[in-house]
Amino acid sequence: MNKIDKEPIFSAKNLKLVTSPIGKSNPITVQVLGICSALAVTVKLKPALVMALSVTIVVAVSNVVISALRSYIPDRIRIIVQLVVIATMVIIVDQLLKAYAFDVSKQLSVFVGLIITNCIIMGRLEAFALSNKPWQSFLDGLGNGAGYGVILIVVAFFRELLGSGTILGYPVIQKLGLYSAGYENNGMMILPPMALILLGLIIWFQRSRDKSLIEHK
């Protein structure tokens, strides 16, 4: 047993693995990964939550699997091995969604399958799981999944609130009585372009708060 093995399970270093992807090294706004499947599911909050949860599970579990196998995987075929592990996890998640949350699974349509090609998962497997222990990889997966989820949920929250006037299906605007005061829903929010613009604004906000993230070119 060497010294690293005796590290406590929730040491400061390990906790940082979880918290840093939520803010400073967020996979979407800073590392520019996984945008592909992120935006199309943000019209309503519920599918966004389910998507965030699915991605977190897939990235955490495949991180653990790859990390546990890391010394047995030949370097030359590692991409195929990673794809097989990810695809297996995604199939399990897809079948579970179909069995227990059929309506959400219909709303997510092809985007559950697209988790396979989500760059966050491949990126974390390549960059982290192949050179770290299973527990650290698990935390790293959780952190990155959460970082992805936070952005998804923020975008979906605003799109559902401003576009349909509800939060998780609860008619907030109507209960506040704003419709009778002449308020109208912004139909634009439901359309795809607003997801991109909202994400641009989130990045603007984050980078104004943390100047070190600004790109100098």
């Binding site: 520019v32 592909c36 794809l83 297996t88 991109l196 641009g200 603007w204 100047k211 600004i214 790109e215």
Partner: protein, 210 residues
């Protein structure tokens, strides 16, 4: 082929370029779209490669889906196999087909057109994990296109739509270098907002029907 079928195919083609655009309507292939759109030249290279791979993988996946995976697809092998449903395997098979096809395409291009290979070289392997490619195969499965002609039209249209989007973004970003963008918005932020505005412009084409 009847006139009506021809019209249908043409409709799918136009629709997948302008209305169901891979990037502006479904955000597919965003990662490479953002990373490789700094200059027009590389954008054109990647755009051609994506179109090419789409044109090959989607029809192949369609044949596999129709004759092997779908419910009842194995009926041609005998009555006993008629009610087997292998569609849960489709993710795994599709991604394997895509990775293999990309590899084969890469080898063929390297053999027969070294010039094209040199200009596409770096992008080809990246395409295997481009969401637009897998996305197109999954859409093909979900929307239940009929016949190989419709599927090919859809694949070519999606590829051209992607090509159009990345090349126009690259052209705008080349001009953008001379403008004064607020610091925190530089790079990624302004690119997202730009893409959003382009998507709004593309929405003006909604409703085109032949």
């Amino acid at each position: 082929m009847t006139v009506q079928a021809m019209e249908n195919v043409l409709n799918i083609f136009i629709k997948s370029i302008f209305i169901d655009n891979m990037i502006f309507a479904y955000f597919l292939g965003m990662c490479s779209y953002l990373a490789v759109s700094k200059t027009v030249k590389t954008a054109v290279g990647l755009g051609i490669a994506v179109t090419f791979v789409l044109l090959i993988t989607v029809p192949v996946n369609y044949l596999i889906d129709t004759y092997l995976l779908k419910k009842g697809a194995l009926a041609w092998l005998g009555k006993g196999l008629a009610d087997i449903d292998l569609s849960f395997l489709s993710f795994m098979i599709f991604i394997a087909v895509i990775a293999t096809m990309v590899q084969i395409v890469e080898m063929i291009i390297e053999k027969f057109s070294p010039a094209l290979y040199n200009s596409l070289g770096i992008f080809l392997p990246l395409i295997a994990v481009n969401c637009a490619i897998l996305g197109a195969s999954l859409f093909m499965q979900e929307r239940e296109y009929e016949g190989i002609a419709e599927v090919t039209a859809f694949a070519l249209g999606s590829g051209l739509g992607w090509f159009l989007a990345i090349v126009s973004l690259a052209a705008i970003r080349e001009k953008l270098r001379y403008s004064n963008v607020p610091g925190p918005l530089k790079g990624l932020g302004i690119t997202f907002i730009l893409t959003g505005l382009m998507a709004i412009a593309f929405m003006g084409l909604m409703g085109i029907k032949l």
